[in-house]
């Protein structure tokens, strides 16, 4: 089989697009992990719910796709707030309880969505149909849109964290929880904020994933796994880490799948990540 350089470049672009959706889910996971020290098992389901809200609005009720994505983002952020207030906040820091409650939530959300929307595979309308060709390479338009949206949101989050008071407080909490407490930062407010923001981002990720690929109530599980993988690469609680980790994962999967077949594209990144963990347990951008 001859894989040309063009194929490889094309693959990298597609990988970056995949990476973009991974980043959107990973950012929320990593922020929640950094600030609340919770592995949010239901985050993949939040991603899925976000996509289904878009489906509900856009396909079933004819709302404009981009407007639907914005509404879904807000709705999912509210869902995140509710989850944080009702389920996560009362469990003061017991690790096992967090694992149980979030996995429980993920089962509930999956089944609830399945019962509401029935089980079939669904599809969101394309962000921008068709593909264009540049120098003999075919690049799908919707993937370009997806990368742009993912990057814009990441930039927006980055500037929020860098330039606003709440953002700075959040960064401080992620890096040093006790220290942040001493600085008078309200940890409950931080938790609520971070879950809301993370959920909103995941919803957009879900919408992008749902329009490029397809929607089903179980899509969150795979997305969650990708998110977890990328935070291991990037390092706990690190935003640049999540971005680099996500893009790296997307490109690695794409290239490995191109050269060694789609099975290796799934297994090898996981094996690499486990090996990686042995040598750099804190991740690329992690801190002690």
């Amino acid at each position: 089989m001859d894989i040309t350089a063009q194929d490889a470049v094309q693959s990298i672009i597609n990988g970056l697009c995949m990476g973009g959706t991974y980043v959107l889910i990973g950012l929320g996971l990593t922020l929640i992990l950094g600030i609340m020290n919770i592995l949010q098992f239901a985050h993949g389901e939040v991603y899925m719910v976000g996509a289904f809200i878009v489906y509900l609005l856009c396909v079933l009720n004819g709302v404009n796709l981009y407007l639907a994505v914005v509404i879904s983002m807000i709705a999912t952020a509210v869902l995140g707030l509710i989850l944080e207030r009702v389920f996560l906040r009362p469990l003061k820091g017991v690790f096992l309880s967090y694992v149980c409650v979030t996995t429980g939530l993920s089962l509930i959300l999956q089944t609830a969505v399945m019962l509401v929307f029935s089980k079939g595979v669904k599809q969101l309308p394309s962000l921008w149909g068709g593909s264009f060709s540049v120098g003999g390479m075919f690049i799908s338009r919707e993937r370009v849109v997806a990368i742009v949206i993912a990057l814009l949101l990441t930039l927006a989050l980055y500037s929020f964290l860098k330039w606003t008071r709440y953002g700075l407080a959040m960064t401080a909490s992620a890096q040093h929880r006790e220290g942040a407490l001493m600085q008078g930062i309200n940890p409950n407010l931080m938790s609520a904020l971070v879950v809301a923001i993370g959920s909103g981002l995941a919803a957009v990720g879900g919408a992008l994933g749902g329009s490029i690929f397809n929607l089903d109530p179980y899509m969150g599980g795979l997305a969650f796994m990708k998110g977890v993988t990328l935070i291991v690469i990037g390092g706990l609680g690190s935003i640049p880490g999540a971005v680099v980790g996500g893009l790296f994962l997307g490109v690695a999967e794409s290239l490995l799948a191109l050269f060694f077949g789609s099975q290796m594209g799934i297994i090898l990144p996981l094996v690499l990540v486990i090996i990686f963990l042995l040598f750099r347990p804190k991740g690329l951008f992690g801190h002690d």
């Binding site: 595979v121 799908s140 179980y218 077949g261 789609s262 594209g265």
Partner: protein, 452 residues
């Protein structure tokens, strides 16, 4: 608790445990005679080999004109991803059972049998498939089992059915028939008595797809093959290596296998296209594969035909690959119902009456399920018996065209004498559906799948 007492208890447990095993082993012979059989409501007698548990005696000769129940079990995946297919098959079975029951049930001898359909979840897990089969047979008294939809699970269920003298009816498409040899092939064969196939297999369908390809796309010579990662996909690929040249076509490139959990189909399709094919064949497909491959191929600038040999409505592929053209495969396009046989239109009316949308991506699956149970019930009625062995034996004699009716048209019969050595494969009409250059979804061609 004292440590010593625990040690003693453990020893006791060991002794008792081994003792019980011994008791079982010794008591085996008398047990079979004394244990009450799981009394099925239908009361079939088993002629199947050995001292089996099913041995209840109420035969049809007792009283004239009794109304009885015939329990038929179905196993499908009703939970988890892909549950849509299982649910659709269940719906189809329910519709077929309702049709027979509404018409007054099955008349066998002087008795009337009402069909009682029970569908259990295999949850896509071997132990759950096994559990479901045991429950259906032992607790609910099912004497015919339909499904499951995944080939691998048929192997788990078949021994349980055979042990209990229950007939296993494959009502779904087989990925590969017995003509394709590979490890784990679960197709009907002389080694598997009480196992019958009520639908075609992918390799039996493929010649008709190639016929259609050669008629409509005469320039398409080079065919690239892909499919989901399974042993049968590899076997089919090897088989195509000899089959295609015989028809003047060429198999190009390596087999591209799509692993489950593949999110992005662009890399494998890039590999597929690197062999510069004229057409793509999706040899074994999950509900998504056909559509995802089509979409990725079109995004990568491939304009040739994309075909799929697993039964599937083209709606399904087009839902993912919006606006694609030159896509065809085995299946029924619900958008183009008017030209189809009356039996199918009637079935679809019942389906819509149950509240399902008229243009449903998974309509094909329910039709297959419906058809399978309908054929099984026809065989039971023709055999004039509810005993699985008798039905199975009689089914194999229905070799004249028109002996059985199907949803896709008349003229079906039991064939496959050469390929399997037993007459347990259904030969039936079927359809190729798809989208041509005009972009309209329609049923393109009726074919008759004839298994030699």
């Amino acid at each position: 608790m004292k440590k010593r007492s625990l040690a003693i208890l453990l020893a006791l447990m060991l002794v008792l445990g081994l003792g019980s095993v011994w008791m079982v082993a010794c008591g085996e012979d008398e047990e079979t005679t004394t244990t009450a059989a799981p009394t099925t409501t239908a009361g079939p007698t088993t002629t199947g080999g050995g001292p089996q548990t099913t041995a209840a005696p109420t035969t049809a000769t007792t009283a004239a004109g009794e109304t009885k129940e015939l329990v038929i079990g179905g196993i499908a995946f009703l939970t988890g991803p892909g549950a849509a297919g299982g649910m659709a098959a269940k719906t189809g079975w329910e519709l077929a059972a309702a049709k027979i029951n509404d018409a007054g049930g099955l008349k066998i001898g002087n008795d009337t049998y009402m069909v009682k359909l029970l569908v259990e979840d295999d949850a896509m897990s071997v132990d759950q498939a096994s559990t479901a089969a045991q429950k259906l047979i032992q607790q609910d008294g099912a004497t015919f089992i339909m499904g499951p939809l995944v080939d691998a699970f048929k192997n788990v269920i078949y021994p349980i059915c055979a042990q209990n003298g229950v007939m296993l009816a494959d009502v779904d498409t087989k990925n590969a028939s017995a003509a394709i040899k590979y490890e784990g092939n679960t197709d009907v064969s002389p080694d598997r008595p009480l196992h019958a196939r009520f639908h075609w297999a992918n390799d039996e369908m493929m010649p008709y797809l190639f016929d259609y390809l050669q008629e409509n796309y005469p320039d398409a010579k080079k065919i690239a093959v892909c499919g989901v990662t399974e042993a049968c996909t590899v076997a089919l690929y090897d088989w195509l290596g000899t089959t295609l040249p015989a028809r003047g076509l060429e198999r190009v490139g390596a087999l591209e296998q799509m692993a489950p959990d593949t999110a992005d189909y662009v890399p494998p399709v890039t590999r597929l296209l690197s062999a510069k094919p004229d057409a793509i064949l999706v040899a074994v497909s999950t509900p998504q594969t056909w559509g995802q491959v089509t979409k990725a191929a079109r995004d990568l600038g491939f304009n040739g035909p994309v075909m799929c040999s697993t039964h599937m409505g083209v709606e399904f592929a087009l839902m993912i690959a919006e606006g694609a053209k030159d896509v065809f495969g085995a299946g029924i396009a619900m958008a183009d119902l008017a030209g189809l046989p009356p039996a199918m239109q009637e079935a679809h009316e019942a389906y819509v009456a149950k509240g399902y949308p008229a243009q449903d991506e998974i309509a094909d699956v329910y039709l297959v399920g419906y058809n399978g149970l309908w054929v099984l019930l026809q065989a039971i009625e023709k055999a004039q018996s509810v005993d699985p062995q008798e039905v199975y034996d009689f089914y194999q004699t229905l070799t004249n065209p028109g002996d059985l009716q199907t949803l896709w048209g008349d003229g079906a019969y039991v064939g496959g004498l050469q390929s399997t050595g037993v007459n347990a494969v259904l030969c039936e009409p079927y359809w190729i559906n798809g989208v041509g250059a005009d972009g309209v979804q329609k049923n393109l061609k009726q074919v008759f799948i004839d298994v030699p």
